[in-house]
């Protein structure tokens, strides 16, 4: 998903405060000496957890979900054929086992007979069939319908060319589901733990319509059920006694508070109201580290923050030297260290580090920043620019508050200092940026991506010719050809090699400006256990538990 979802909430935080810095000033003074928390090894008597969401979930209907806050809650309420392990890897969920044909185009899933809905009814293959047809049915108007494209006929159904019952999925019996794919899809399991493929309970939808997601009607099949929802404020979940693995779930309740204001989230964490928060401002990190130590959790999050070029507009069209000059003259390490307080790792690739995938560092990555600057000046001249004829360009970003503005002002300053380019900032509302990007009106703009699943293809597709995600209009036959070949490659290792080659093509073409890789940012009380940092930043409450402790 485009990483700007959290950025939108940052906008809200800024609005709520008028000036986020002013609001933070109240707590950024001398460190508050927190009473120490002592934790024992015994389980606490009360197994209840309070977590936060950056924004209100848009809809608790899995098929309509497109945002990260909703994903957090649905991960606790529902379970797909596969689910996520404590470290974010796909593991058996409702399906206990599966096998696929040698060409990887047909997959058969065997559902657990003990899987139950929260009203006691069995979860069957029919439920999945119904839910997935519902996802691609144009009548549902699901935002992510196109994500099912690997399934036979899915795209045609979503585009209204075929009826929903032609979807290449069959319920062979109550507990066997066969999925037919248009191409070998080695990442199918990663796709299956996306929330929009979670099953929904048909009788509730048919009976209550849009209101089926209200606490009094919602039937779920995950580790928790929906107890209460106050829109814009909190969502309370209770343990689901019918969950097939209920014996392993220790939490009795989970409360998700909507916390669009990061400073407020930190304050309430300090006050002891919150135990597992989702976000804090980068500028608060040094102070939080000093005050809370190990409770501040940053870890790699599968996402890349970058600037993108428009390949159809001057000055970047047909000017690879200019593009490369801008790429290499950004001192990423200084930016992340001083303006992001060390929270992120500087990026030189599109794909964040992922095991099994060889990072495609561009050749300039081996140079020191001084050497890079020399190279950049050479390229800048080669591109036809000079002190008399400087590059004039806008960086188009969305309004995200002072921290982001300073970051891009520094980028502009670097281009000016190293190259003599005249760079200005063009901040607009997120919706305006999104529209202008889609209409290909901007020459140089903010582009961010947070992986939906841990597969390089999820990132590389951003540059595939003619797709709606390809805002810059990048088009390269070699690149598209490699992705096409990868899509037909059943062997995952061989497929990764093809994807690596395609990323190398992006480097050759200086296709975008990598800035930094995302990082998760949680505050977690020491007595909250049963979570592990993972690349997808999906932490299911079903694994968590509370240890006995004193202090907040």
């Amino acid at each position: 998903m485009r990483g700007l979802a959290p950025a939108v909430t940052a906008v809200l935080a800024a609005c709520g405060n008028h000036d986020p810095q002013a609001a933070q000033a109240g707590i950024a003074g001398p460190p508050i000496t927190e009473p120490a928390i002592t934790v024992s090894t015994a389980l606490a008597g009360t197994q209840s957890l309070t977590r936060t969401l950056d924004d209100s979930p848009r809809s608790l209907d899995p098929q309509l979900s497109t945002d990260i806050p909703t994903q957090r809650v649905l991960d606790d309420l529902f379970e797909g054929l596969v689910t996520l392990s404590i470290d974010g890897k796909p593991i058996p969920g409702v399906a206990a086992s599966w096998e696929h044909s040698p060409d990887s185009r047909t997959w058969v899933f065997h559902l657990r007979s003990e899987a139950r809905w929260s009203n006691g009814a069995p979860v069957t293959a029919e439920d999945f069939l119904y839910s997935w047809r519902r996802e691609v049915d144009p009548k549902t108007a699901a935002g992510y319908a196109q994500a099912l494209a690997p399934m036979v006929n899915a795209l045609d159904i979503a585009l209204g060319r075929k009826p929903p019952d032609t979807l290449g999925v069959e319920a062979n019996d109550a507990h066997t589901l066969t999925v037919h794919l248009v191409a070998p899809t080695p990442y199918l399991l990663d796709l299956l733990d996306q929330v929009y493929l979670y099953p929904v309970y048909r009788p509730a939808i048919e009976r209550y319509g849009d209101d089926w997601v209200r606490p009094e009607h919602l039937v779920s099949n995950g580790a928790f059920t929906l107890h209460e929802e106050i829109i814009g404020n909190r969502i309370t979940l209770s343990a689901n006694p019918f969950y097939w693995d209920a014996a392993q779930v220790r939490l009795k309740s989970v409360v998700y508070y909507t916390m669009p204001d990061r400073a407020q989230s930190v304050l309430r964490y300090l006050a002891g109201d919150l135990q597992f928060t989702d976000s804090f401002a980068a500028s608060q990190r040094p102070w939080l580290k000093k005050t809370l130590g190990e409770q501040v959790v940053n870890s790699p999050w599968l996402g890349t923050y970058m600037l993108a070029f428009n390949f159809n507009l001057p000055p970047f069209r047909d000017n690879v030297a200019l593009r490369r000059a801008l790429i290499v003259s950004v001192d990423r390490a200084a930016l992340t260290q001083y303006l992001k307080y060390g929270m992120y790792e500087p990026a030189d690739t599109l794909m964040p580090p992922l095991s099994g995938y060889q990072p495609q560092h561009p050749s300039w990555a081996a140079l020191s920043q001084l050497e890079r600057n020399d190279l950049a000046r050479r390229l800048y001249r080669e591109a036809g620019y000079s002190a008399e004829h400087p590059l004039r360009v806008n960086i188009s970003t969305s309004v995200q508050g002072a921290d982001e503005r300073h970051y891009f002002e520094a980028v502009a300053g670097m281009w000016h200092a190293v190259l003599g380019a005249q760079v200005s900032m063009d901040e607009s509302e997120y919706k305006v940026l999104a529209q202008n990007r889609e209409l290909h009106l901007l020459p140089l703009f903010l582009d961010t991506w947070i992986g939906d699943f841990a597969d390089p293809v999820n990132f590389l597709q951003l540059f595939y010719g003619g797709t709606s995600l390809n805002y810059g209009g990048y088009a390269d036959a070699r690149f598209d050809g490699l992705l096409d070949r990868a899509a037909q490659e059943p062997d995952n290792a061989a497929r990764y090699r093809l994807l690596e080659q395609s990323e190398a093509v992006l480097n050759d073409d200086a296709a975008y400006i990598p800035l930094y890789y995302y990082a998760t940012r949680h505050l977690i009380k020491p007595y909250v256990q049963g979570w592990r940092s993972n690349l997808l930043d999906r932490n299911l409450s079903r694994y968590m538990y509370i240890l006995e402790h004193q202090g907040r």
Partner: protein
């Protein structure tokens, strides 16, 4: 009196219609649409979604459709929060705003009026100067400074009160937001009461009352208070509507489930129906409280006749 009220209510209908029409036009002229977002959709899929909300129709038809639904009290579905209607969002959030807002106004009056009266009575003493200096500070300090400070002191440091959140009917969750919201208004009310009370105290009938040897309490409460309140009442009309509605900062800092935040996120996300619904509500509130203020004014000042 009844005729006056009926007339004012009828007069408000065209005003509201104008507000709705203007808001509708402005929202639809803003660049970006409700579904130009996170992940760009395939054109056909986007069309499906827009068709579901009738956004594919010509604007005049959308307008007529909206007005038709509005006539039935239906504010339409939210685009941003699918499965949720604007009526549901307002029904959940508005009572919270009302309870916090009205409590803050009550607190502002209960504290502000005595301070103002006392300052006027003991004009140019410490009883006047200190509270008035504080009042200037209270008016100048923005709520986004006061609110986090209150949380820091009373919740984080002292652990006396919750740092935020909302439990319906829980006074401890109400206290800090009400205080944060009320502080500037305490200051306003105190200054207004002081000003008008000074004028009243210099009038002839107060001198007569003093000459008769009436007690201070009687002079202040019986003869000064009521006429001093007239400007407070005119101030309260638009202010009450404002306190109930524009508490977005307080809502955000204390994590209250009011509708102020939806107003802002709705505008940013181009959630047309949500913004329109809240605009209508806010417009109606301002009209209502201005009417109430005029009625109170007539009650306080017998010289005012409502025609």
């Amino acid at each position: 009196m009844l005729r006056y009220i009926v007339r004012r209510v009828l007069e408000s209908v065209p005003t509201l219609l104008l507000i709705v029409t203007l808001a509708f036009a402005l929202l639809h002229t803003a660049p970006g649409g409700p579904f130009s977002a996170d992940k760009p959709l395939l054109p056909e899929i986007r069309h499906n979604i827009e068709a579901r909300y009738h956004l594919d129709e010509p604007l005049w038809r959308q307008y007529l459709r909206y007005m038709g639904d509005l006539a039935h009290g239906d504010l339409g579905p939210s685009f941003q929060y699918r499965n949720t209607s604007v009526n549901q969002i307002i029904a959940t959030g508005f009572p919270v705003d009302v309870s916090v807002g009205l409590s803050a106004i009550a607190l502002a009056l209960l504290v502000g009026i005595p301070i103002g009266l006392n300052a006027a009575w003991r004009r140019n003493t410490l009883w006047d100067r200190v509270p008035m200096a504080l009042a200037v500070a209270g008016i100048s300090l923005p709520v986004f400074v006061i609110a986090p400070l209150l949380v820091l002191v009373f919740a984080v440091k002292l652990h006396w009160l919750p740092a935020g959140g909302w439990i319906a009917g829980s006074p401890s969750h109400l206290l800090l937001p009400v205080l944060a919201l009320a502080l500037p208004y305490i200051a306003y009310v105190a200054r207004i009461v002081r000003g008008s009370a000074l004028e009243v105290l210099s009038s002839g009938y107060i001198r007569t009352a003093r000459a008769k040897g009436l007690s201070t309490a009687r002079i202040l409460l019986r003869h000064t208070l009521r006429p001093s309140l007239a400007p407070v009442v005119s101030f309260l009309g638009p202010t009450t509507a404002g306190v109930i509605t524009i508490s977005i900062v307080v809502e955000t800092v204390f994590g209250l489930p009011g509708i102020g935040r939806f107003f802002v996120t709705g505008a940013l996300n181009r959630d047309y129906t949500l913004v329109l619904g809240i605009t209508i509500l806010y417009g109606a509130l301002i009209i209502l409280f201005n009417l109430l203020a005029d009625l109170c004014y007539a009650w306080i000042d017998p010289r005012v006749r409502l025609e």
